[in-house]
């Protein structure tokens, strides 16, 4: 009898210790959910700009001891990852699981315009702030009004397309290029919307569009497109393309010795893999995004990214993704707790110190962002933006 009660006492004590340890442990960490593609069409994009940044950020925060709460204690962060397979329905399911089953404190926004927009209602329903990066759409005003928890950081479709046209107009004004533009786009929402916006802006700026075609996303032979564009004798070439086509078009243009003084390709132009594949022949190539190469903070970021993740960061989405994570970090520390409502309000009303400079959201948007970058001397620098300092002058492309 005595032995049994001794045993049950011991068991009760042990269980009690385990439980209280568990509870203490749970109180010590902040759980952060992350859902983005690991497989599917956008997997490679996420592998470049999303997952490494999350890994880098979490490692750096935990090395510092964690996020500082208002009572002075520090809480480390734990990332709970889900693969949404580039399927919006999976994104929605994963966000709901993170909110209701894993009960995470915050959720990092998904990758991709479609996936972010699909998940926005769920974020709003559970009150999680959604600092979207890779979401370029013209519906930003409408969306920020509908969802008080969503924030946009990479700009709108029209501003993007307009910026490219402005760069071309400036080159034309300086006598570097003529009036004829050949434009192609991938037949996906991204390419179609940008081409649509660019068409209007080009016509308004008085350019003549001599070749205007679209191609299906998985086309493996883009030589008819490049040959067709070349035959139209343009002064400038613009391609609203995805990474596989960006690479294929550039290779074809190089083989054809497609001599235009202004050559713009879409997503992928800003990848480190672009310069490592093509080398110095891409000197003068224009693309999306860009960075202020003189920023010491950015240089430190790139070095840290390489050291912690073993992969180079890109020059458009990567630093902005990291900046968005810095915003989340500073907002949580600013509020000093994991109160989501307070953090969301904090994001709306404060200025943040990020690798992309000082960020202050205006109506839940960052209004100053890089739009056009160019490869100059093996570095990808920002040449046009919506009001950021440090733009380098555009150089004309002189052959391959």
């Amino acid at each position: 009898m005595k032995r049994r009660s001794d045993l049950s006492l011991a068991v009760a004590l042990a269980v009690g210790c385990l439980l209280s340890n568990g509870a203490l442990h749970a109180q010590d960490v902040i759980k952060i959910g992350a859902v983005a593609p690991k497989t599917g069409p956008l997997a490679a994009a996420a592998a470049t700009t999303q997952w490494p940044n999350i890994q880098l950020w979490a490692t750096q925060v935990n090395e510092r001891g964690g996020l500082k709460m208002k009572d002075g204690s520090r809480r480390k962060i734990v990332i709970i990852e889900y693969d949404d397979r580039t399927n919006p329905q999976e994104t929605i399911k994963a966000v709901q699981r993170l909110a209701t089953q894993d009960k995470v404190d915050f959720i990092i926004s998904p990758l991709g315009t479609g996936l972010n927009l699909a998940a926005a209602p769920v974020f709003a329903q559970y009150g999680y702030p959604q600092i979207a990066v890779s979401s370029i759409t013209d519906k930003i005003d409408e969306l920020t009004q509908r969802y008080p928890t969503i924030f946009f950081t990479l700009g709108s479709t029209s501003a993007f397309a307009r910026s490219v046209v402005e760069v071309l107009s400036k080159m034309r004004g300086e006598g570097k290029i003529g009036n004829k533009v050949a434009m192609v786009n991938v037949a996906d929402a991204f390419g179609i919307e940008l081409a649509e916006a660019a068409r209007g802006a080009l016509k308004k700026a008085g350019f003549e569009i001599v070749y205007d075609k679209s191609y299906p996303p998985t086309t493996i032979d883009l030589s008819p497109i490049v040959k067709g564009a070349k035959a139209a004798n343009p002064d400038a070439f613009v391609a609203w393309s995805y990474p596989p086509d960006t690479f294929a078009i550039t290779e074809q243009a190089r083989i054809e010795k497609f001599s235009v003084k202004a050559y713009y390709t879409g997503v992928g132009t800003q990848f480190p893999a672009y310069v490592s594949k093509f080398g110095p022949s891409i000197e003068g190539n224009l693309g999306p995004g860009g960075i202020d190469s003189s920023s010491a903070e950015l240089q430190a970021y790139y070095a840290a990214h390489m050291k912690v993740t073993g992969k180079p960061a890109d020059f458009w989405g990567s630093p902005v993704t990291y900046a968005a994570l810095q915003v989340l970090e500073q907002a949580i520390e600013g509020v000093g707790s994991t109160d989501r409502k307070a953090v969301t309000e904090y994001i709306k009303n404060n200025t943040f110190k990020t690798v992309m400079g000082a960020w202050k959201f205006k109506d839940q948007q960052i209004v100053h962002y890089w739009t056009v970058g160019q490869w100059q001397n093996g570095r990808y620098v920002g040449v046009a933006s919506t009001g950021l300092p440090g733009a380098k002058p555009v150089i004309p492309k002189t052959g391959w």
Partner: protein
Amino acid sequence: MEILIVGILLGANYSLIAMGLTLQYGVARIMNLASGEILVAGGFGAFWVFTALKLSPFVSLVFVVPAAFLLNWLIYRHLLAPLVRRAKSRGHLEVDSILATFGMSFAFVGIMLLTFGGDFFSYSYLATAFDIFGSPFGLNRVVACLVSLAVCGSLYFWLNNTRTGMALRAVSVDPVAAGLVAIDVPKLSALSFALGGAVTAAGGMLLSTFLTLDASSGVVFTMKALVIVIMGGVGDIRGAIVAAMILGLAETVVASLADPGLTLAAAYLLFVLVLLFRPQGLFGGSQS
């Protein structure tokens, strides 16, 4: 003229993608929905040899082809042969094999993701201009075309002029009757499945010299291969080659003379027309 050459180059690439699946579906009767992943794996092998070992990606064929052969043979023996044994009819086997290989494709994507990561991989090899009749073409594409024509040609020769080849053709026509004339059907089915996998991996290596691939790209190639195999007629190599050429030429003609946006529409329209007027495929015999 330029359009013709571009079309032939593209058609040869397509035939490479479809050649492996023709063997696997035609002889082994397995509709292998994971063939795109084998192709991407072959491409990964070539990428690794080129970037890590700094050798010509063709060197990767030395280990990629035998490895793919062995892997596919093992998959057939342990995963698919049980399905073959218990299938009561050809249709039953097709459904089973579609489901099994569909699941396999997800597993392969996951394995490749773990091993190579999710990034795009792309390298420049022979990306110089090769002039044919005055127009520049990518040397890597020309080489891929020549190699794929050589592979298809030698496969066709082997199938029609050797004893094993004849046995394989017999199995593709009627497995039951072939068994009756002392052909070891299970062994030959495994052989053709493994051979199909090896050819697909070699095709992946060739395609990787000018395409940008990532772990999730396989599904696009599987779909293309499926269209070509069904359009060409099941079990006939000639059919696959001819269908691939027709498709390549049609897509190039549409892209150059009409609108590049219509290439997919044209390809599938052609597919639908062939199925409407000749449901067994261009070279297909009557269904057994």
